[in-house]
């Protein structure tokens, strides 16, 4: 695999949600045009920041690119092929290679499962006949990878016994279980304390260096994500309004949506 091979690409994606009587704003009658012809190419090993205000269409784009929802128009390509025509084996490959981490780690875990089965569930699904010892070793290795050294004690805990930062690390560990090529991270730190956000972002940087894993990092806090990302994609009102290398976008934002995010972020600091 070359450094800049196209891994996952969105081509002119459009997605409209039916009208449900919104109070105001876009498409009260005609439904909400959540995505309006969005294209985005992710190369292997690249960290791309997808930024924009709440409601800009970031999460919708992510869901479509993961194949969790179908676009009204346009296509998503995985290694050059439309994800709707990958076939059984291809789809399996796609589902293994692209993993997601959600903002709300607590909601993303079954409260009645212990950490061990949460982390190793993808492994179990893939290799059905893994013995108990091998299963446990796999879980421990994954947790060590995300900086959780709690050992066997940690494996036996339930999600509610973990701190917010630990919970998010556990969901990252689970996403890594199948050794993916791309992690889609939807606001992975915005529910965390500022003190813990740094820890999780540092972890992402380490994972990128160690595993050369590609990442699509969705966030609204421009200041935090800009330094981790090589490229920034700015969304507003269901469209990509600006795109480019992080330094350029930060130093010379050409769009008002970018400037607004930048000002708010600097104002925060």
């Amino acid at each position: 695999m070359t450094e800049r091979e196209e891994l996952l690409a969105a081509r002119a994606l459009t997605r409209r949600y039916p009208a449900r009587g919104g109070v105001r704003g876009r498409g009260r009658r005609s439904g909400l045009l959540a995505l309006d012809g969005v294209s985005l190419t992710l190369s292997s090993g690249e960290i791309v920041g997808l930024i924009g205000r709440s409601g800009a269409g970031k999460s919708t784009l992510a869901r479509l690119m993961l194949g969790l929802e179908t676009p009204d128009a346009g296509e998503v390509r995985f290694r050059g092929r439309d994800i709707r025509s990958l076939g059984r084996a291809g789809t399996r490959q796609f589902r293994t290679a692209v993993q997601i981490v959600f903002q709300d780690a607590e909601a993303a875990m079954d409260p009645r499962q212990r950490v061990e089965s949460i982390v190793a569930e993808p492994v179990r699904i893939q290799r059905r006949r893994l013995g108990r010892a091998a299963f446990r070793t796999a879980a421990l290795e994954l947790l060590a990878d995300v900086g959780l050294a709690g050992g066997v004690t940690l494996l036996e805990k339930y999600p509610h016994e973990l701190s917010g930062g630990e919970r998010q690390r556990v969901t990252i560990a689970r996403a890594l279980a199948l050794d993916p090529s791309l992690l889609v991270l939807d606001e992975p730190v915005s529910a965390l304390d500022l003190s813990v956000r740094g820890q999780v972002l540092n972890l992402l940087l380490t994972l990128h260096r160690r595993r050369h894993i590609g990442m699509l990092l969705i966030a609204h806090d421009l200041e935090l994500v800009a330094r981790i990302c090589q490229r920034l994609v700015v969304m507003a009102g269901g469209r990509v309004v600006e795109e480019g290398p992080s330094e350029r976008v930060l130093a010379h934002p050409s769009q008002s949506a970018t400037r607004e995010l930048l000002t708010a972020s600097v104002g925060m600091g």
């Binding site: 009587g21 105001r24 304390d193 500022l194 003190s195 740094g198 540092n202 935090l224 600091g269």
Partner: protein
């Protein structure tokens, strides 16, 4: 200026699994002068929200306030009759709870909820058209006519937070407590919220207490700061001095999070190593000792007291004062 809210050595306890009451807040001091914009900052789980609830004697069962004093405008909140408390809640102190989507009733329209709050504090007609509640919605920068019949799920996070603030203001309180108002808001909405709080303060002569884990937001909205760690106040004073020249190593750590986040080029993100200890791990000594870069012997043997280290400036740290808490 007079003191509006004065909390001294507050302790709140909850029963543990064994039924024994265990203190989860123990040593919070909060002094708010009339007209202040007080920022209460500290990581999650330090007791900030419980402190806000305790100020109105709203600590949820089976929790109890087990020690300390809460004085509101010279009145002892802990000794108040229920009828007086009802008048004080919303009437003198408005509280905007954390998590706006959970604090609003999903089955009631925005108009109903704001009008309901307004009705509690005075005779208001039952009419369902935009009434006194509408003025409140306009005050917080919302389009009352458009939103009146809307339901919470139809609003953005920023709009929901504003509806909550409007309800908290319905009894025209002198003090507004906003608990983590930026949770779930994007940075632009946070920025707008900071402006709104400043405007409400100026227009209504409000005193503010804003609770947040994010020192960046606190820096924007507060002129006084109280830093809370592991159930106790560790530092307080004017914003410029507390954030500009932090005394307590914990404050220093929080400020470093914001400073380093601003400087470009550095590849790794600043973070505070470790986590806030749970009450069972507090021990008898300095609760920050396990994470403190400046820890020394005494910190592991004695618990420092919150002492005045400069006029208007207090810190709970042996680096600054010899004062210590009596051993239980």
């Amino acid at each position: 200026m007079s003191t509006l809210l004065q909390i001294e050595n507050l302790a709140v306890a909850f029963p543990g699994a064994d039924g024994v009451m265990r203190r989860v807040v123990d040593g919070v001091c909060l002094h708010v002068e009339e007209g202040d914009a007080m920022g209460v900052v500290g990581e999650s789980g330090c007791g900030k929200s419980l402190t806000a609830l305790a100020a109105l004697r709203l600590v949820p069962e089976p929790g109890r306030i087990v020690a300390g004093t809460v004085m509101l405008d010279g009145e002892d909140v802990l000794a108040m009759a229920e009828s007086r408390l009802e008048a004080v809640r919303g009437g003198i102190v408005g509280l905007a709870f954390q998590d706006a989507s959970a604090a609003l009733d999903p089955l009631r329209s925005v108009g109903f909820q704001v009008a309901e709050a307004a009705r509690l504090h005075g005779p208001v007609s039952q009419q369902d058209t935009p009434g006194p509640g509408a003025a409140l919605l306009r005050d917080v920068g919302l389009d009352a006519e458009a939103l009146w019949r809307g339901y919470p799920h139809q609003l953005s996070g920023g709009q929901r937070q504003r509806v909550l603030l409007a309800s908290a203001l319905s009894g025209t309180p002198r003090l507004l407590i906003a608990d983590e108002p930026t949770a779930a808001l994007d940075t632009v909405a946070q920025s707008q919220l900071a402006e709104l709080l400043a405007r409400l303060r100026a227009q209504r002569g409000l005193t503010l207490v804003v609770i947040s884990h994010d020192p960046r937001f606190i820096e924007r909205v507060a002129d006084q700061i109280t830093v809370v760690y592991a159930g106790e106040t560790v530092e307080s004073g004017a914003r410029v001095s507390v954030l500009g020249y932090p005394a307590h190593p914990y404050t220093l750590g929080l400020v470093a999070l914001t400073k380093a986040a601003r400087s470009a080029g550095d590849e790794t993100f600043p973070s505070l190593p470790g986590t806030v200890p749970i009450p069972a791990e507090w021990g008898c000594c300095c609760r920050f000792a396990s994470r403190c870069p400046s820890v020394f012997e005494r910190c592991r043997e004695r618990r420092p007291a919150l002492a005045e280290i400069a006029p208007g400036r207090r810190a709970r740290c042996f680096l600054w004062s010899e004062a210590e808490e009596p051993i239980d």
